[in-house]
Amino acid sequence: MQAAIDIQGVHKQYGEKVAVADLTLTVAPGELFAFLGPNGAGKTTTIKMICGLLHPQRGTVRVCGHVMGVNGLAAKARIAYVPDQPFLYDKLTGREFLHFVAAMYRVDSAARDRLIADFLARLDMHDFLDKLTQSYSHGMKQKLVLAAALLHDPDVLVIDEPMVGLDPRTVRMVKDLFRERTRAGRTVFMSTHTLEIAEAVADRIGIIHHGRLVALGNLAELRARAATQHTLEDIFLQLTNPLAGDADHAVER
């Protein structure tokens, strides 16, 4: 089966600083993958390479079989990216923004209206969807960009810190939404610092540290690797311990 995301031997550095070192990672269709790591570990750089914003100095990134950088537009038509600081046109209403996104991805108007009505109900956006986005709180913005990202039913959803600023009800709803998508064969690639969420919803977890993938697998495999039966938080802290050597932790491929 063709991988949804296929990262092979990717290396990226900014000047002297190595951001991502020889990263190899494959995420399958229908998988919810949680990407963890301390600040500055290389998570955002990896995500930006998956989305085609940055280009690796070595290696390749494929999304749904399309090599990013060679056939980037075809890949971008099948991916959606929600950054931690979402972008919105502040002088558009939420509805106008959704119409714009739908037109950009060539979603026909009937499907668009049906999907907007669905998100309106599920994400409880009635009160603010027709107001200018400049007046939105962070949580409202998160809901709107999530709806916009899902409008074209992307094969791969890449999302950075999805739960920040959301109320508990919406967090629950977003978790359900992620599970629905993976059941439908879509892929969710999620970067987060909220380890409880990763522990609760992820099929597999990857931990990056100093640009290297130091752990990869489901929770049971990570526990085995860290030789502990404790929580993901304990595993994470053990694997990203600044006093431990990095090379010892690099995941074997």
Partner: protein
């Protein structure tokens, strides 16, 4: 492909969709500005109309003056046009390069659109169009009044107006295309350190060239014709046929002479080159955008800076007189100012131009000597220009200081520092920057005009009071009418409080100018001869006291408001 997506259509968002959404946002912006702040909206429109009319009458007066002598008009008017368009070419190229760099490579919209299936050509075309629209302010603000004034005094036929507009529209894409390629090259090849060094080197070389040119065309009072010939010879390059500005300049002049065929010929040359250059630039940059974006995004991190003591180093010495906590805040603001090119470059450019003019003041002296009272008029105009530049600076950069602290609420609400001291620390920073530029420019003006010591001390003292008044108003009103939820300093400055501050600052400057004008009128016959008389001294003291009082009262009100404020 997902079921809801139209699989038959190519998965690319085109330029028309992007333009439509931008126009929608623009309509929303205008309608919400009218609905939310109608007074501000119409006041801004009125101010722009007044500036526009002022420029129109200024150009009209210049052309009427030049027309009085047919010989001078024949030489000077083509030179005025050539100068205008060559300056426009240079300014638009630079402003387009900056705008294109910011919109193509910085900001979250760039990241957003580049992760969507938008073709690079559509994206670059959109950004190119945006920069052209933004940079066309010169057409509205400078070009229209210039051309309308020219047309009015020349009794031009009707076709002059659409032809002139077509020349402008055909001309603007040429610097736009150059700017687009410069922006791409900057992102692709120049890292932050190299960019800084090149900018510094360009500034030094540019200043050196200007000084060298000014020195080389010394006024020759005995042989004015020789001098004029020499100046025209040295400036002949601006009429070179390879410069796009020369095509527009010549075309407009042909239109003015009712020579429609030649005018249309130059128009066609301009439009053809504009279209060709635009196409080449957009195609070139589109094909190379991903690598340039990658380079720009990869180098965005910023350079490491040496750690300095929070209140130490040169910045700390400047505020040695302040208590430690106030000094910490003033030093922080000064470092922020020095590290924000938007702030210091504006001051450097405005006061640099002022300094350049002042250095050349002695050259005008001989020409102005026969006019009675010039000795009082020039310092008065200098004083007014410096004060208005300062009012612009304090309204744009000092006023938002307190509001911007709203995101570090501990500084306003938690740190053991009284609001009065916080306001005083902001004032100390603003006053330090303002006094260092405004007073040094006033001193330079006094030296260049060979002003006697007594008069110079009086001017410098009143200028210091202007600084105190404007800084006090900006800090005080900034604390009284803060906008704590906003991170964007420009939006804070454009808000209600910013508008109130701008009006108060302009009123204060006009009032102080009125006082200084009264001194000028009193002494118009005798000039600077003799010591400062008692009445002039009294007026100057009252003017200075007025400035200090206005600033002081505003700060007291601001501090009192902060004390009662619930954040």
């Amino acid at each position: 492909m997902p079921s809801s997506v139209d699989a038959a259509a190519p998965p690319l968002a085109g330029l028309s969709l992007l333009v439509r959404v931008k126009l929608r946002a623009l309509c929303n912006r205008v309608s919400s500005a009218i609905a939310e702040a109608p007074v501000r909206f119409f006041a801004t429109a009125l101010c722009m109309a007044l500036v526009w009319l002022g420029l129109y009458f200024l150009f009209r007066a210049i052309f009427i003056y030049l027309k009085q002598s047919p010989l001078e008009a024949a030489v000077a008017i083509p030179m005025v046009f050539s100068f205008f368009f060559v300056a426009l070419l240079a300014m638009l190229t630079i402003s387009n390069a900056i705008l294109a760099y910011v919109s193509l490579f910085l900001g979250s919209e760039a990241s957003y659109l580049l992760t969507a299936p938008v073709s690079p050509r559509a994206y670059v075309s959109l950004k190119y169009l945006e920069t052209l629209v933004f940079s066309s302010w010169s057409l509205v603000l400078l070009g229209l009044p210039l051309m309308l004034a020219m047309a009015e005094i020349s009794n031009e036929p009707w076709f002059y107006y659409p032809l002139f507009l077509a020349f402008f529209l055909g001309f603007v894409p040429i610097p736009g295309a150059l700017g687009l390629v410069i922006a791409w090259a900057t992102a692709r090849f120049l890292n932050r350190a190299l960019r800084r060094r090149l900018t510094l080197a360009a500034g030094v070389v540019g200043t050196f060239c200007v000084v060298l040119f000014v020195q080389s065309v010394q006024v020759n009072e005995q042989e004015p014709n020789l001098w004029l010939n020499e100046v025209l010879f040295r400036l002949n390059f601006i009429q070179s046929a390879v410069l796009p500005s020369a095509w527009v300049s010549r075309g407009v002049q042909h239109a003015l002479q009712n020579n429609i065929d030649d005018a249309l010929g130059y128009l066609m040359v301009t439009i053809a080159n504009a279209l060709f250059l635009s196409m080449i630039a957009v195609e070139f940059v589109s094909a190379r955008l991903p690598v340039a974006f990658d380079r720009a995004a990869s180098l965005r991190g910023g350079d490491a800076r040496p750690t300095r003591s929070p209140a130490g180093g040169p910045a700390g010495w400047v505020f040695f007189y302040l208590p430690l906590r106030m000094r910490l805040i003033a030093v922080k603001d000064l470092r922020t100012f020095c590290r924000d090119p938007l702030q210091w470059t504006q001051l450097v450019i405005l006061f640099g131009l002022m300094g350049l003019y002042l250095v050349n003041v002695p050259r005008f002296s001989n020409s102005l000597a026969p006019l009675e009272g010039w000795g009082m008029i020039i310092p008065y105009l200098n004083f007014g220009a410096i004060s208005f530049i300062l009012a612009t600076f304090t309204s744009r950069f000092v006023f938002p200081l307190v509001s911007l602290e709203g995101h570090q609420m501990w500084l306003i609400g938690m740190v053991p520092l009284t609001p009065r001291r916080l306001v005083a620390a902001k004032f100390a920073f603003a006053m330090t920057v303002s006094v260092s530029v405004a007073v040094s420019t006033t001193v330079l003006a006094a030296i260049m005009l060979k002003m006697p010591l007594g008069w110079a001390v009086m001017q410098i003292s009143v200028m210091t009071a202007v600084c105190a008044g404007l800084c006090g108003l900006a800090v005080g009103i900034g604390a009284r009418l803060p906008m704590f939820g906003e991170r964007n300093a420009a939006r804070i400055a454009n808000g209600l409080g910013g508008t109130v501050n701008l009006i108060a600052s302009v009123t204060l400057v006009l009032a102080m100018l009125g006082g200084m004008g009264a001194i000028g009128v009193r002494n118009v016959h005798r000039g600077f001869d003799g010591p400062v008389d008692g009445v002039s001294l009294l007026i100057a003291s009252l003017v200075a006291c007025g400035g200090l009082t206005a600033g002081g009262v505003a700060m007291l009100l601001g501090a009192r408001h902060l004390r009662r404020l619930e954040i």
